[in-house]
């Protein structure tokens, strides 16, 4: 979707403001939101990383820009636990459980956390899928504007690039985000000149590399 999250190339956002000796979390609640999200994801079903990103992208644009990073996570968590069927919206609004049916075992215990943190959840798939493109080949990023989730940023659409590597077969986010299947396909590293993306004022020596799935690309 052409959302405000797709920020590459936008103007007016101000200067980057690095903070000296920045803590991992600035406030206690940020740490709790992070941990709650990890625990709920790890322990409950019907979840994948693309669906999680899509949820944040669908926050109202003005809200998205107003919120801090972990405020977005908190908003997403409230939406997702209802969608997952873990709690009802009424329970969130009332702040207390509706029934007496508390679970006897939590989604995740402290003893399970080290394994959860170390778990590799690769979206690479060991399946045979034909690669449409080869390293060295010129390609064009498709000029598509899907209303759902996509990882093809607006700034690259319609632009010419060169395949520099085939990363293997990976889950396709556009379908996975809506639980419409993994549609595994080849993922490539594609190199674009800054001039192709941004015009003649860009440096000749600047390049932008994007990871792009087969379905994002067309032959030149």
């Amino acid at each position: 979707m052409n959302g405000v999250h797709d920020m590459g190339g936008m103007h007016g956002m101000g200067a980057v403001a690095p903070e000296k000796d920045e803590p991992v979390f600035h406030e206690e609640w940020e740490a709790r939101v992070y941990a709650l999200t990890r625990v709920v994801r790890a322990g409950a079903g019907r979840w994948n990383i693309d669906a999680g990103r899509y949820e944040i992208e669908r926050l109202p644009p003005a809200e998205y820009l107003r919120m801090s990073y972990y405020e977005r996570w908190a908003a997403r968590l409230r939406i997702q636990i209802v969608k997952m069927g873990l709690v009802t919206q009424a329970e969130i609004d009332n702040g207390s459980p509706a029934g007496r049916s508390a679970r006897s075992t939590p989604l995740l215990t402290a003893a399970m956390v080290p394994a959860m943190v170390a778990r590799r959840i690769s979206t690479k798939r060991d399946v045979r899928v034909r690669a449409t493109f080869k390293p060295g080949q010129r390609v064009r990023a498709r000029n598509i504007h899907p209303t759902g989730h996509t990882r093809l940023p607006r700034y690259a659409r319609g632009r010419l690039g060169t395949i520099i590597a085939d990363r293997g077969v990976f889950v396709f986010p556009d379908t996975n985000a809506e639980f419409l299947g993994e549609k595994p396909q080849h993922l490539y590293s594609v190199r674009f000149t800054a001039r192709e993306l941004w015009g003649d004022r860009a440096s000749r020596r600047d390049f932008v590399y994007l990871d792009m799935w087969d379905d994002y690309l067309e032959r030149v």
Binding site: A15, H26, A35, R66, V87, R167
Partner: protein, 218 residues
Amino acid sequence: MGNAKKGPVAQDHDHDHQHQAVPSDVALRVKALESLLVEKGLVDRAALDAVVDSYEKKIGPRNGARVVARAWVDPAYKKRLLADPTAAIAELGYSGGQGEDMVVLENSPKIHNLVVCTLCSCYPWPVLGLPPVWYKSAPYRSRAVIDPRGVLREFGLDLPEDVEVRVWDSTAEIRYLVLPERPAGTEHLREESLAALVTRDSMIGVTKVSPPQAGGRA
């Protein structure tokens, strides 16, 4: 609400973020959510503590710094790191969520790599921990791809025009780690001392690693 969302910007205070005498609205709402999930038996508070502890104390940029230092002192390791990064990083004990499929980008005097995620906040957790606020912020995400040299200057790095700049937008589940250049004058240093020089920012690619006497942020 205002305090929490304003990115910390103060330069000359030890302690940038503002403490709040009264819990903010968002803090109260998160507390209520946690209590609800605990009361429903879904969430164990000790598990939450364990997750926070992992990312505050165990998983952070010191991990990546050890990878970089090893690559600087051990040419065979560096070769493996560039050829099969995920496995080479796991050799040192670092793997897990958001580091499943790693790519290492080597900086040189003629090529400078810089990593961004314009669409969200993708970042290699096992080697760098959770990303800093600026990395997830609109200014960095919007500008890194269109004005990388301007962004680098704000970090104090003014690259000569003949240096090639490569910006890597993390649009998939590949996670990138920059292998910065080993600074001059460190030939005598051992691996541990070298690791102490390697900063988080140098592994994102927004700075170089400073030699010890230059007083760089280590």
